[in-house]
Amino acid sequence: MQDSFVEPLKLLELPVWEKIKNERRLISFDLEITARCNNNCRHCYINLPAKDKRTKEKEMSLAQIKNIVEQAIELRALWCLITGGEPLLREDFFDIYLYLKKKGLLISVFTNATLITEEHIKFFKRYPPRDIEVTVYGVTEETYEKVTRNPGSCDAFMDGLELLLKNKVKVRLKAMALRSNVHELTAISQFCRQRTKDYFRFDPFLHLRFDADIKRNEEIKSERLLPKEIVTIEKNDPERFQALEKGCDGLINPDFAHFGCDHLFNCGTGNGSFTVSYDGFFRLCSSLWHPDCIYDLKKGMLAEAWHKFVPQVRGMRSKRDDFLKKCRVCPIINLCIWCPAHSYLETAELDNPVDYFCKVAHARSESLAPQFRPSIATQP
């Protein structure tokens, strides 16, 4: 007789992770159920006003979401991230969440936590998410609301977070590092580490807007830290810095650059996951908005997007000399956030090097111990 028939597994222990090293298999997807948010963060790449009627009308209905989820299950997806905007703004949030649960998906939720109520807590306790990820914009009212531009949001955030933690709902905390809160970053990091055991991460890379709003993009750029500031805060965070060195060690290898290849994409985009926008467009990843890289799920099927459209996008090539001679063969690309998706957001083209990214990547490279530094460095 066998000892045990039912083997408890952690998600990362599933054999499917091995399988996707060699072939494309759908594991997870992001559902952006709204682009609206009750906050108005300075650096936000997506938010539209909470009461924006036109945006609300364009949002996928519950029936459309169910249809997409059903198709994702047929493709064997296991994990779904519910995100936004602020997903809790949707009146049918519970219905969406419960539907995903009933389909046997593991669920993560990104929220600013300002709208968390006792009702959410009761619900999450009965139907636990895998995790709830909350961004901490500041730990004082002044800083927090300087970022969110929403009076009262700091208190609402503190109350929401407290409710989640008190009730032992699994929470991960993260922060964006921007001009308006960088002076408080150490305090933010302490705040997070006191509250959760998970590795706290901060992100200094601010993406430009999905809708290319010129004024908002200028605002985002003005919130970006200088390359040397990014390096300084990374160095001040030993956990992150070691991770960077470790990652770098494995990433900067001679095979990486594929010299002579003119493919645009050399990341894993569309290999194991996809994103659906609030208005029902399939994307290979959350940053990739180029019109040639999105597929309307209101008119077509997910299987077609997954099996035919993704390989087509991944097969895109570039003839731009600048790209082929710089980013395509860049030995420090793994220290850089350059990718076709970000290139498009910055320059309206998929294959333009981006000066700011380049400077940050070189500053990061120079900050590493010599043994982790790449031997060849392209010039910004």
């Binding site: 007789m1 066998q2 045990s4 028939f5 039912v6 083997e7 408890p8 597994l9 952690k10 998600l11 599933l14 054999p15 499917v16 399988k19 298999r25 299950i73 064997r76 296991l78 649960k101 009933k102 389909k103 046997g104 998906l105 593991l106 306790k125 009965r126 139907y127 636990p128 895998r130 995790d131 699994k170």
Partner: protein
């Protein structure tokens, strides 16, 4: 209290779990809290476990399940009955099945 199972009992999957094939792996995913040891655990069944699970339909007794499996796998009935009892006991303890 220890979960008691016997061959004459009939079981069905609990509505609080979802069993799925994810890229060739048969897994049971808890929907509600209190199933399994932690909230983020998922559970894997091997081929034999899956064959048993598929037959726990709320109509078939464990004895009949074992008999069907003995034919399917051409195995020793007593040994298979013990395995069926073992799995059912574990599933019941983890609240993944209910007595019909």
């Amino acid at each position: 209290m220890e979960a008691q199972v016997d061959l004459n009992s009939i079981y069905a999957p609990s509505e609080d779990v979802v069993a799925r094939d994810v890229h060739g792996e048969f897994i049971i995913i808890p929907m509600t809290s209190g199933i399994g040891d932690s909230d983020d655990a998922i559970f894997s069944l091997n081929e034999f476990g899956r064959a048993i699970w598929d037959k726990l339909d709320g109509k078939t007794s464990l004895k009949e399940v074992a008999r069907a499996l003995a034919l399917q796998f051409e195995g020793d009935t007593t040994e298979i009955e013990n395995d069926v009892l073992g799995l059912a006991e574990e599933l019941l303890k983890r609240k993944m099945i209910i007595k019909a």
